[in-house]
């Protein structure tokens, strides 16, 4: 029992730390790209400002408009956060440093990440605001459309690794000597990253939030701690999807040529570095691209990404059976 509690505590701590780190990276990355200093004054040259941000949001009044569907409105942020935190359970920092090495780890991750859709949709629906409603519906359409390429891109990896356990997938990459992104899954990796960006609802796929169109989309009516939960979840989601992408495609906690017996020591550092690099790419994309339109987004998913990922599966399967 104590062990479970410790693990849950570690999980929540890791999720929060990851989110805070990515918040700093996003905001500092933005200021770097926009030729301005960014946050400077809150402790350590502005680097702990997310803590101040969190405290600020906790203090603020939690406004619940009179017309909203109260229970649904109140619970919606929780779905989003749970779906993000639960994902941390399966990502291995090393063969032993993992909360739960599930036999069906990939399956679990993809299933849990879909749970966030419910939260976003109910948030949009219950807010009694037309902008929120449109944001919620956009989000639902987008998350369903991009769930498919996300899953199909992972299928290629699963075929190649012959296992659905995340530790197993990394071990297979160590066995191969090169990560899967080099060993034949480059198309799958690109599809996964595009779909993951859409799942995170980040630019250029941020129509559900679409600040200049829908003010704040499904989050419009939220304030105080409930808004904070959405805000933090966005960065948790970003962190964990980058970590999963590193695990599936970039060799996870291992880099070639390092001795495998020391993996428990360097594993976490390696994985976090890879995650940070992927995160930085997402930050750079966010601050340099405009937003797609809703129909263009759907076209991209259904006409390009899904056929491409199906072809990817086909080719992977042929290679697997034929050679």
């Amino acid at each position: 029992m104590t062990e479970v509690l410790i693990k849950v505590g570690l999980l929540a701590g890791a999720a929060l730390t990851g989110a805070i780190t990515f918040t700093i990276m996003d905001v500092k990355g933005a200021s770097w790209m926009q030729r301005r200093p960014g946050p400077l004054h809150v402790g350590l040259r502005g680097f702990i400002f997310p803590v101040a941000e969190i405290l600020k949001f906790i203090q603020k009044e939690d406004i619940i408009p009179t017309e909203v569907d109260r229970p649904v409105f109140k619970w919606a942020p929780a779905y989003v956060m749970v779906s993000c935190v639960a994902l941390f359970a399966v990502v291995p920092l090393s063969p032993t440093l993992v909360v739960a090495d599930l036999e069906l780890g990939v399956f679990f991750a993809l299933a849990i990440s879909s749970l966030g859709t419910i939260g976003v949709l109910t948030a949009g629906w219950s807010s009694a605001n037309k902008y929120s409603l449109m944001g919620g519906l956009r989000a639902a359409g987008q998350l369903i459309a991009y769930e498919l390429p996300l899953i199909l891109a992972v299928v290629g990896v699963v075929i190649q690794a012959e296992t659905m356990s995340l530790v197993g997938i990394v071990e297979k990459q160590i066995e191969w000597g090169v990560p899967f992104v080099v060993g034949g899954q480059i198309v799958g990796f690109l599809i996964f990253m595009v779909a993951a960006t859409a799942e995170m609802m980040r630019v250029p796929f941020d129509m559900p939030i679409g600040e200049s169109e829908l003010t704040m989309g499904f989050m419009t009516e939220y304030s105080g701690i409930r808004f904070l939960i959405f805000y933090i979840s966005e960065y948790m989601n970003m962190f964990i999807l980058c970590a999963i992408a590193s695990t599936l495609f970039l060799g996870g906690y291992h880099v070639p040529l390092l001795p495998t017996e020391w993996v428990n020591f360097y594993g976490p550092i390696v994985l976090l570095t890879k995650t940070a690099i992927l995160g930085f790419i997402l930050v750079a994309i966010r601050w340099s691209q405009p937003r797609f339109r809703e129909d263009q987004l759907q076209n991209l998913a259904w006409k390009i990404l899904i056929p491409a990922s199906l072809v990817n599966i086909l080719v992977t399967a042929i290679m697997k059976v034929g050679f």
Partner: protein, 398 residues
């Protein structure tokens, strides 16, 4: 329409079909007056079917400040403080047509040097207005970075305007018969040279060079972006016929392929002495409207550089009576402002102030086109189209 469910209309059962379309009402979406993309307090009542926008009705008046009425109880020199608040993004260029109108009625010949200074500052106002448009438009289609670049570059131009006039947005610099003695010249030093500040030519040359570079940068940063092209090309196409019928003017009209620029058609400032091109678009879509403005920035910078090189010497002010009284009469002066045609119809009864002042502003006519551009538009397109019209609410409501 034949009712498929009515048994009398079904002769064979093989023909029986059920076609029941679910009729849904359009949702009325109220955009604004408090909305990030309505440039202040424009309100749009849109009829939307999901993402599709069927109709939109602009509701004006949230910014109405009654400047036309206020002008009736003020003297001519006082009115410039009002009019440069009409389009506050390019405050300087609002003063010019009003002052030119009063001068025309008084039959005052303005010294060349004053005209040149007016021209330089008008073009700088145009550049700064287009900088704001560039940043804000990118923001509206979802790109968050360009506005910081645009504001940074605009700052150089505003600094120059400030160094001459003492004000960044509301210079209040024009006087009937010329321009105000430059900032720092002192109120009592009549014998001192009251002129442009030291180093102005050098700074302007540097700043204009930067403007040309910045325009080039925008062409790469925004115009070269595939997502931006996808969002703006063939969106909100405005045909020249509709544009002219609605009295649309300025860069929007030129983007539709009409080569109409009041700088070449009227003589309110000596534009005929410079060489510059008038950028014209082809398709009249949002991309062209953006593109024309970026190109215009370069042309304006070229005009300023030429004006700096050929700046005539002489007085800044013509001889005017101490108490300015405009003779009885009426006149209409129009000018090419950054947003389009701006005109003042002044009716004077020989008093200290105008009997009636009618202000024709560009943005008012330009946003009237909005409901006609929505052919097959989606909600994000509505925002993109609205942004490309580049209006300022002060310019709409006065």
């Amino acid at each position: 329409m034949v009712n498929a469910l009515d048994p009398q209309n079904i002769k064979n059962f093989s023909e029986a079909s059920v076609s029941v379309e679910i009729e849904t009402e359009d949702m009325t979406l109220n955009i604004g007056p408090q909305h990030p993309s309505t440039h202040g307090v424009l309100r749009l009542v849109a009829k939307v079917d999901g993402e599709k926008v069927h109709d939109v009705k602009p509701v004006l008046g949230y910014m109405h400040r009654g400047y036309e009425k206020l002008a009736e109880v003020r003297t001519y020199p006082q009115i410039t403080t009002l009019v440069n608040r009409i389009d506050w993004v390019a405050g300087f260029s609002n003063e010019i047509p009003f002052i030119a109108g009063a001068e025309r009625l008084m039959e005052i010949e303005v010294p060349d040097r004053a005209k040149y200074i007016r021209l330089i500052l008008t073009e700088m106002a145009r550049i700064s207005s287009h900088f704001v448009f560039n940043g804000a438009y990118a923001l509206e289609v979802g790109a968050l970075t360009p506005i910081f670049y645009a504001m940074e570059d605009r700052e150089r131009v505003l600094d120059l305007i400030e160094s001459v006039t003492g004000g960044r947005f509301h210079p209040n610099f024009n006087r009937i018969g010329g321009v105000k003695p430059a900032a720092g010249a002192g109120p009592t030093t009549k014998k001192n040279i009251q002129d442009l500040p030291a180093g102005f030519y050098r700074d302007t040359k540097i700043a204009m060079q930067k403007v040309i570079e910045a325009a080039d940068q925008f062409q790469n940063l925004i115009g070269g972006n595939e997502v931006f092209k996808k969002r703006t090309k063939d969106v909100g196409v405005l045909t020249p016929e509709i544009a002219e019928a609605f009295g649309v003017s300025g860069p929007i009209l030129r983007a539709s392929g009409v080569k109409s620029d009041l700088r070449t058609q009227t003589d309110y400032l000596p534009y005929d002495q410079f060489e510059y091109e008038i950028p014209v678009g082809e398709n009249g879509d949002c991309y062209d409207r953006w593109d024309v403005r970026v190109k215009e920035m370069v042309e304006s910078a070229k005009i300023v550089l030429q004006a700096i090189d050929s700046m005539p010497s002489g007085p800044l002010q013509a001889k005017v009576p101490k108490v300015i009284k405009v003779p009885k009469g009426r006149t209409y002066v129009r000018a090419e402002n950054p947003k389009g045609e701006m005109g003042y119809y002044i009716i004077s009864d020989g008093g200290l102030g105008p009997y009636r002042l009618k202000v024709r502003t560009a943005s008012f006519s330009n946003i009237s086109i909005l409901p006609n551009l929505l052919e097959g538009a989606l909600l994000p397109d509505l925002i993109a189209i609205m942004g490309s019209l580049d209006f300022v609410l002060g310019d709409v409501d006065r």
